[in-house]
Every structure is written in structure tokens, then in C-alpha cells.
């Protein structure tokens, strides 16, 4: 079915971005601003909110009973067999993503109005933010790989622009660059996978690709898996998985709403979405599924363990995001695509809430991000505290908060399906324990005990304005109830259906289902209970260690042993620097700059200039100015051409 409203959904944020972008540029030249941050913020917010309302209308009214709606505003490439349209498709899968992205984006745009208040280039900020939403919508709704890739690159670009938003600070600009370069490595994998698929399938349409791999394809086992793994490399870059996760913690240099929107709720989940989108391909590639499963599990435990000893409030949340993304990939790798999307959704709610809450805290602390200097904020900022606590309960997996249902189902599926296995389940369970621990540590250090910062900061402490607390409340509420649309049948005793499951099931089982092993209900209940116990144990440890502490935490420099390794994030950045970046730099300077560029390329350029000067000097002897000489050359040339045609060709 065609529906051109979808196009309006996509284009609205772009219009907002264009208007704000133009004004951001012209405001720099003119004495009088065309419009200031207030109007820019309202414009950005209203475009995204309009997109959200239209999405609601499309998904719940226009799409009821239909499998999908599409809209083709433009034929992009039409060459021989290759036919790429700019087509936007809303099916059940992209509908969920569409609502999550536009919904969370609207909330965060609203929050940004309060947060970015007083910044000199806030108009530019809103332009970038809108552009990001546009690119993300392209990524979600594009029905062919190139359109998806444009969105994929677009969100990467916006991420770069927003991380380095305060570009006058070298460190922040460097963090932006790091994110961009690491993402490029992943994108390279995505591109290679796309080429491989096009060479074999002959089409780049996502549905066609899935269909091809679903019906016993002609590609060999090796190449099928290679294509899937190459796409997954793209996903590891975008979704910050091992080995390309290093950019995400640094990306916290950007403004906090950006961290909430891009680096927690939407962009980083693009990789998960992509894997689910290509589930036809991934189900045909068992090795790639195992890779996804294991990378997800290792990332989950790895970054959860790092998060335990971080002292920067945003760094903790960043590593937590990486870890939760690992959970999503575990679900995808186990073949539980519905659950991956479910966790993606609940994670978008509670992690956005956590980030916005941390933004509120940082706002109150006057830019201070170190939790060792916080404490006791509960009584100063109650709204922030309550919502932060709600989201923490959700991420830790305490029922009946959103995170419990999704995380429990991930662990259950990893335990039970044919693709999952028990070792990965154990790793996931330990990661869940760590999650509960570091999140409650964060809550206790930030909001409990006495204030450990300077007197000046204490004097300054205040609750954030309404524009910031209202979004927090919305997201906090969603953290509480967001999981209820996916309550497993077993827990509700069939009292009401598992809405999300029923909605998504047809879209993600179209190209093959994953067999779930047979276990008794007792096992399932037991595992569910175990997840709760894990969460509570993590909470308990955190409470015994950090509840109501009076003293400041020790300086990280005094850490020894394994703690020191964890504090230094397993020295991964240093290892990358030593073994990848420095050799590349060496190669770049000594080979590509000094030999290839200076000698060969410059030599060729200068040499050809000299050569042509010489040739033209020679040729100028023929330009005698004599008309008849020119006539002679012409005749000579014509005769030569004739003779060549006769005897050579």
C-alpha cells in the first residue's frame, strides 16, 4: 500500500535542519539574529513531534490490519538490472523503531531546549539534532541497502558533529574524530558485505535479499557467512561492540542530550536493527549467528566489568550502554529477534532517562561529572532522583520494571534456543549481576550520603527547570510501564496477550524461525526467579559497600592489581594505540607521505608540467602565423586520418 504521509514523516526533520542550519550560518554574519535559540528549539521540537504524531497515526490508524505501508518519492538509480528507489517502508518491525525513535527524539528535543539554554551556537545544535533524526529515519525506513547506508553514514556524520559540538576544546574534537574513524572501519565492512550481496543476489532490496537467502540460496556456505559477518562488522562499529566499541565512552564528550539520543537510545541500536532486518541472511549463516552471539556476550561482560570502577557518571552510563547493546546482540545471535527489538525499546526508555538524569545532575553540579564529588543530591533534586531510580531499577532488572521482562527473556532465549548455549547464558547472567551492582553504586554515590563537592557547588545545587524534568518524568514512567507490552504469557498466566510479540512475530519470522528447545515450565520459572535474585544480589552488594558513605572514594591512582586494570579499561586504548594506530602513523609518514606522496605523486605532477612545457615549446614552432601552413597541416592531418582508417582500423 502506498501512503505519501510516510514521506512527510521523513522530510519534516530535514526541513527543520535546513531552516535552523541556514539561520545558524547567517546569524554569524548579521548583527541582528533572524531567530534565537528559543525559536530554533521550538522549531526543532515541533518538527520531530509532528513526525511522532504522524507516525502514531500511520502505525495505529493507517496500518491496522496491514502488513506494511510504503512510499516511493523518488527513483534514485535505474541502470540495467540495478534498480534503487528511495522507498520508505513501514512494516511491523520498522514501525516499532519508528515510534521509538521519533518518540524518544521528541522528548529529548524538548529536554534540549532547557539544557542547551545559553550556549552561543544553540541554533547549530538544533540543526544537527534534526538532521540526525532525518538520517535515522532514512536508516530505519529505507527498503534497500544503499538508502539504509545513506542513513547509516548520515547518523555517523551527525554523531561526529555533535560529539565535537564544542569543537574549541581539542579533547572533544578528538573524541568526535575517533568516533568517526572507528565507525568508518565498521562502515567499510558494511560496504564490503553490500558488494558481496549485490554480486551474488543481483539486488540490493532488503526484502529481496532476505528472500534470496531464505530459499536455499546459490551462495556457498563460506560466502554466505562471510557476507553476514561483514554486515555484522558494520554493526559492531555503529553499535559499539568488541572490537570497535572504543569510540562510545569517548563520545560522552558531547552534550548530554546527544549522549541520550544518539549514544544510548537510537543510533547505537542501528546495528541491532540491521541484524534483525537481515534476519533472513543471518539465519542462513549459522557461523555468523554464533559470532553475533559470542561478540554480544563478551562485550556485555567486558564492558560491564569496566563500568564497575568508573567514576565519571557519563562514562559509567556509556559502558553500561555498550554492555546492554551486547545483550541485544546476544538475543539476536540466539535467534530471538523479537526480544532483541524489545530490549532495544526498553533500553531506549531507561537509558535515555538515565542520561537525561545525569545531564540534570551535571547541570546542577555546574559541569562536574565525577561521582566522587557528588552525594546526597536526593534532597536537592527529588524529581531527578525519582526518575533516575526508576530507570536504575529498570536496567537492573527488578520486576515489574521494563528492563526485567526484556533482559529475562534474553537470558531465557540464550538458554533455550538452538543457536544459544549455556556458557553464553552464564556469561550473560554474570553481566546482569555486574549491571545491577554498578548501577546501584552509581545511584548511592550520586544521590545518597553527604555532599562531597566544594562549598560553592553545594550552594549552587538546584532542581532543573521544567523543560528538563518533564521529559525525565515521561521517560521514567516509560521505564516503569514500557515493558508491560511484552510480558511473557507464562507470567501473566494468559490473562492478556504478549502484545509486542504478537505484533512483531510475523515481521521477523517471515524468513525462518528459530527452534526453541523444550524445557519444563519449572525451568523457565526457575530462571526467571534466578534473574530476580541476580538483580537483588547486585543491589545488595552495592548497598553494603556504598550506602550512605561519608568519605570520599580513594584516588584511582592508588588502585592496584586487577582493579587497576579495570580502572584503565583493560588498557584497550593503549593497546590499539600501540599496535594499530602507531604502526599506521609510521607507515603514513614514512611511506605514504615521504615516498609515495612527495616523490611519486608530486614528481608525476611536476614532471608532467615540465614535460608539457617542453612539448608546447616544440609545438609553438609550428604556429608560424602563415595561413597556408595551417591549411597544409589540416590537409596533412586529414590524409593521415584517412590512411589510418584505411590501413589500421
Amino acid at each position: 500500500m502506498e501512503n505519501s504521509l510516510i514521506f512527510v514523516i521523513v522530510i519534516l526533520p530535514l526541513i527543520g535542519a535546513a531552516l535552523n542550519g541556514i539561520v545558524a550560518v547567517t546569524n554569524g554574519y548579521r548583527k541582528k539574529e533572524i531567530w534565537g535559540e528559543k525559536f530554533a528549539g521550538m522549531l526543532a521540537f515541533s518538527t520531530v513531534a509532528a513526525s511522532f504524531l504522524l507516525s502514531l497515526y500511520i502505525v495505529f490508524v493507517k496500518m491496522s490490519g496491514l502488513e506494511s505501508l510504503s512510499c516511493t518519492p523518488y527513483v534514485w538509480v535505474l541502470v540495467d538490472k540495478l534498480n534503487i528507489n528511495i522507498t520508505f517502508v513501514v512494516d511491523h518491525l520498522s514501525a516499532v523503531m519508528l515510534l521509538v525513535v521519533t518518540g524518544v527524539s521528541s522528548v529529548i528535543h524538548f529536554y534540549s531546549i532547557g539544557y542547551i539554554h545559553g550556549d552561543e551556537s544553540s541554533v547549530r545544535y538544533f540543526s544537527y539534532l534534526n538532521l540526525f533524526v532525518f538520517a535515522m529515519l532514512l536508516l530505519i525506513l529505507g527498503d534497500s541497502m544503499p538508502v539504509m547506508f545513506v542513513g547509516w553514514e548520515g547518523v555517523g556524520l551527525c554523531s561526529y558533529l555533535l560529539i565535537g559540538f564544542w569543537y574549541k576544546d581539542d579533547e572533544k574534537a578528538a573524541a568526535g574524530k575517533k568516533a568517526f574513524i572507528v565507525n568508518r572501519i565498521g562502515d567499510f565492512g558494511f560496504l564490503l558485505g553490500m558488494f558481496l550481496i549485490f554480486a551474488n543476489v543481483g539486488s540490493l532490496n532488503i526484502a529481496a535479499v532476505n528472500q534470496f537467502f531464505h530459499h536455499g540460496n546459490s551462495m556457498t556456505f563460506f560466502w554466505t557467512n562471510a557476507a553476514a559477518i561483514l554486515l555484522f562488522i558494520g554493526a559492531t562499529g555503529k553499535s559499539a561492540q568488541i572490537p570497535l566499541y572504543v569510540w562510545l565512552p569517548d563520545a560522552m564528550a558531547g552534550p548530554t542530550p546527544v549522549s541520550a539520543l544518539i549514544h544510548a537510545a537510537t543510533m547505537v541500536t542501528a546495528g541491532v536493527y540491521m541484524v534483525v532486518r537481515f534476519h533472513g541472511l543471518f539465519l542462513a549463516a549459522p557461523v555468523a549467528m554464533q559470532v553475533v552471539l559470542w561478540v554480544g556476550a563478551l562485550t556485555a561482560i567486558f564492558s560491564a566489568s569496566i563500568a564497575i570502577y568508573q567514576n565519571d557518571i557519563k562514562k559509567v552510563l556509556a559502558y553500561s550502554t555498550v554492555s546492554q547493546l551486547g545483550f541485544m546482540f546476544m538475543a539476536a545471535g540466539a535467534g530471538a529477534f523479537v526480544i532483541a527489538i524489545f530490549h532495544l525499546m526498553t533500553h531506549a526508555f531507561f537509558k535515555a532517562c538515565l542520561f537525561l538524569g545525569s545531564g540534570s545532575v551535571i547541570h546542577a553540579m555546574g559541569g562536574e561529572q565525577d561521582i566522587r564529588y557528588m552525594g546526597g543530591l536526593k534532597k536537592y533534586m527529588p524529581a531527578t532522583y525519582i526518575t533516575f531510580l526508576l530507570a536504575t531499577l529498570a536496567i537492573a532488572g527488578i520486576p515489574p520494571f521494563a528492563g526485567f521482562f526484556s533482559k529475562d527473556e534474553i537470558l531465557w532465549n540464550v538458554f533455550a534456543t538452538d543457536h544459544g548455549n549455556k556458557i553464553v547464558w552464564f556469561i550473560g547472567a554474570v553481566a546482569a549481576l555486574f549491571t545491577a551492582f554498578y548501577m546501584f553504586r552509581l545511584v548511592y554515590l550520586t544521590f545518597f550520603g553527604n555532599f562531597r563537592g566544594s562549598r560553592e557547588q553545594e550552594h549552587h545545587l538546584h532542581e532543573s527547570p521544567k523543560t528538563m524534568t518533564v521529559p525525565l518524568m515521561i521517560l521514567g514512567g516509560l521505564s516503569l510501564i514500557g515493558g508491560w507490552i511484552g510480558i511473557p504469557k507464562l507470567l501473566s498466566f494468559g490473562a492478556f496477550p504478549n502484545f509486542l510479540h504478537e505484533y512483531l512475530e510475523p515481521a521477523v519470522t517471515k524468513y525462518g524461525e528459530v527452534h526453541v528447545g523444550h524445557y519444563s515450565h519449572a525451568t523457565e520459572y526457575g530462571l526467571m526467579l534466578l534473574s530476580v535474585v541476580i538483580a537483588v544480589v547486585g543491589w545488595y552488594f552495592a548497598k553494603t559497600k556504598f550506602y550512605e558513605i561519608k568519605k570520599r572514594l580513594p584516588d584511582p591512582d592508588t588502585y592496584t592489581g586487577f582493579t587497576r586494570v579495570l580502572w584503565n579499561k583493560y588498557f584497550v586504548d593503549e593497546i590499539y594505540m600501540k599496535f594499530i594506530v602507531n604502526p599506521l602513523k609510521y607507515l603514513a609518514t614514512n611511506f605514504f607521505l615521504n615516498i609515495s606522496d612527495k616523490k611519486i605523486i608530486d614528481g608525476a605532477a611536476n614532471g608532467s608540467a615540465t614535460g608539457w612545457r617542453w612539448v608546447s615549446t616544440l609545438l609553438s614552432y609550428f604556429q608560424t602565423g602563415d595561413l597556408q601552413a595551417y591549411g597544409f597541416y589540416m590537409l596533412f592531418g586529414a590524409a593521415l586520418a584517412y590512411i589510418l582508417m584505411m590501413f589500421v582500423f
Binding site: 609545438l619 609553438s620 614552432y621 609550428f622 604556429q623 608560424t624 602565423g625 602563415d626 595561413l627 597556408q628 591549411g631 597544409f632 590537409l635
Partner: protein, 110 residues
Amino acid sequence: MSSPLGEFVTGFGGFFTLAIVFVLFLIGAATFILRRTLLHMLMGVELMLNAVNLNLVYFARLHLNIDGQIMSLMVFVVAACEVAVGIAIIVRLFKRTGTIGVETYSEERG
């Protein structure tokens, strides 16, 4: 009324006509290159155009297709334009320098 040339057109006449065309064309080209005055150069060009016209007319007759003759009329018009403009230019040059020798006009040297 029968065709005036008969079998000649499809036999030796083809070779003969093409030979005449070549020779006339090259005589025209030689006039253009070798003679020293602008006037002769112009007349050489005229001769070359005429040679080409003969070619067109001959093949029109051979293929029994009138298009060749029509094309040669177009060549006439182009030739007339060329002579008119060419002579006008030569008149201007002659008035300026008092000569139409081509060596006078070799200022565009590289």
C-alpha cells in the same frame, strides 16, 4: 526517354567520376595551399566545394535517390555565403594594407 548514360553509370563511370572528384578536390586544395593571394585561396575553396558536389550528384544518380541533389543545393548556399563573407573580408584587408598577398597576414605567430 531513357537514361542518357546507360550502363556507363554503373560501370566505368563510377571510377571515372570518383577520379575526377579526387583530382579536382586536390587541385582546389593545392590552390589553397600553394598560391600566394587570398583571392586564389578563396577560389581554391570554391573548386573543392564543386568537387564534392559532383560526388553528391553522381551518387544520387547511382542510388536513384534525390536526397543527394538536395544536399548539393545546400552546399551551393553555403558556398555563396562563404564567398560573400570571404570577399567582404578580403576587401577590408585590401583597403587596409593595399595588398592581398598572404605573407602580409601572418601576424598570429606562436
